[in-house]
């Protein structure tokens, strides 16, 4: 390893040089601050032994310049100070020196302090190398994961697509078989089968939709969409279901709420959210729709008086395949509806959140969409 000694007193320098060479170190000697900086830049020493008190440029000035230079900042500095000069020692350490040796120095102490400083430097260098390697590995792994995720989406896409053909005879023919069946037990069995086929159909449809929303190639078909009238249309189309379930609708959204968006996706989003209010309200409730304009965004909130959510459920509600009632056997939900909603909102550059005061206290979903879509 290489040490640079900087001292205008050549006698002291010569003594230090002899001792450090005994440590097996390569030693460079310069007599002033300017040469010290030059040598530091050219030779990149592993340690600088720096006299405080020098003419023209003091050791403090040299240290300041070293510590302000990104290329030199990592070279440890050990100051050479006068024995009675406490202030200088403190100032030197504050400027970024790792240690000091007082003059006249004891040779064993000098060697021990230099050894200690070099050990630290070596560890620092190792750490820096490891850090670099780690960063490279993280980059590499991130790229691998990205590719794997893309492969996963492509696979899911292909799989759900391929499932559609074999599902067709089941979806199309089972009801015809059920209609011709007289036997009550067989009818029950067929009902059970058809229920599950329906579920499979839903699951396939939704999985495919999610894979498509995840795909980086898919772009939005942007046009002018009136959010308020989309909400009103959805409420109207479900009005009989609301009535059957004893749910009252309060629609406080103001017309019009024109935004730039993909109409089909917005329809899907609103339909999913509105259907959820019905699914999770056990009779006699109120669903309230509100709209707010905030800067360049529209915020919609849909609040119900339904079964609500625990804090755990609120955290996980947008996860793929998460079902709020924790039941894997619930055939009315695929656990993908809200994940799809989140993707739709995010693909538009918006955000969505779900809140509840707890189980039994209703749920409110708020989503924000930008009024304009930036050109891609």
């Amino acid at each position: 390893m290489k040490v640079l000694i900087v001292d205008d007193n050549t006698k002291i320098m010569a003594i230090a040089e002899v001792h450090l060479k005994k440590e097996g170190l390569e030693v460079l000697c310069v007599e002033d601050g300017k040469s010290a900086l030059e040598s530091a830049r050219q030779e990149k020493p592993d340690l600088i032994l720096l006299d405080v008190d020098m003419p023209d440029m003091s050791g403090f000035e040299v240290c300041q310049i070293l510590k302000d230079d990104a290329e030199l900042v990592m070279i440890p500095v050990v100051f050479l100070t006068a024995a009675d000069d406490n202030k200088s020692r403190v100032r030197g350490l504050d400027l970024g020196a790792v240690d000091y040796v007082t003059k006249p120095f004891d040779s064993f102490e000098l060697r021990a302090r230099v050894r200690a400083a070099l050990r630290t430097k070596q560890l620092q260098d190792q750490l820096a190398t490891m850090n670099l390697e780690l960063e490279e590995r993280v980059d590499q792994r991130t790229e691998e994961i990205k590719q794997l995720l893309e492969q996963k989406d492509a696979f899911v896409n292909q799989l759900s697509h391929d499932l559609k053909t074999p599902l067709t005879p089941l979806v199309a023919l089972l009801p015809m078989v059920a209609e011709r069946t007289e036997d009550v037990e067989s009818k029950k069995m067929l009902d059970l089968i058809m229920n599950n086929v329906d579920y499979m159909r839903n699951l396939t449809e939704r999985t495919l939709q999610l894979a498509q929303l995840n795909s980086p190639e898919v772009s939005l078909r942007v046009e002018k969409v009136d959010l308020a009238s989309e909400i009103r249309n959805t409420i109207e189309s479900l009005s009989s279901v609301f009535k059957e379930n004893g749910i009252e609708i309060v629609n406080n959204t103001t017309m019009p709420l024109d935004i730039e968006a993909d109409r089909m996706l917005i329809k899907e989003l609103i339909h999913n959210l509105v259907s959820n209010t019905i699914k999770y309200t056990n009779g006699d409730g109120v669903v309230t729709f509100e709209s707010f304009l905030k800067d360049d965004n529209v915020e919609i909130s849909i609040k119900d008086t339904g079964i609500g959510m625990t804090i755990e459920q609120q955290k996980r509600i947008f996860e793929e395949f998460y079902k709020a009632d924790d039941s894997r056997t619930d055939r009315s939900s695929t656990g993908l509806g809200l994940t799809i909603c989140k993707r739709i909102v995010e693909n538009h550059g918006g955000s969505i959140r779900a809140e509840s005061q707890g189980s039994g206290h209703g749920t409110s979903v708020h989503f924000t969409l930008p009024i304009r879509q930036s050109e891609k």
Partner: protein
């Protein structure tokens, strides 16, 4: 009203499913397994509603429509696509003018019959 329907699909279970549903409702139907088969029938004088699968080996639904047009066999027929994908392929926008509608797999018998009853009226 004895207008014919042709189903073009390489998957035998889809051909059978369509065949069963439409025969039950009193339509006469012929099933072929490829675009080539479809062209052969048209050359023999078939006129009617064609239910065409999009994804088929060798000659897909779009290739078949292009060939039908090339040979001047389109006139008098109505084409609806049977598809498992959400959207028509945008590259083939030129050909979509020959397509009246899409039936998305998996379809119910009601969905299929709705399309058939609506578009068979357009067969000349």
């Amino acid at each position: 009203m004895n207008k014919e329907i042709m189903v073009v699909d390489d998957d035998p279970s889809i051909r059978s499913t369509v065949d069963i549903i439409l025969k039950t409702s009193g339509y006469s139907i012929c099933a072929v397994e490829s675009g080539q088969g479809c062209l052969d029938r048209l050359r023999e004088g078939f006129r009617g509603l064609i239910l065409m699968d999009v994804m088929m080996p060798k000659m897909d639904g779009w290739d078949t429509i292009a060939a039908i047009e090339d040979e001047g066999l389109y006139k008098g027929n109505v084409i609806c696509m049977l598809t498992a994908v959400h959207d028509p392929c945008p590259k083939l926008e030129k050909l979509t003018e020959y397509v009246m509608d899409y039936v998305r797999k998996p379809f119910t018998s009601e969905e299929l019959l709705e399309v058939v009853t609506e578009y068979i009226e357009y067969v000349q």
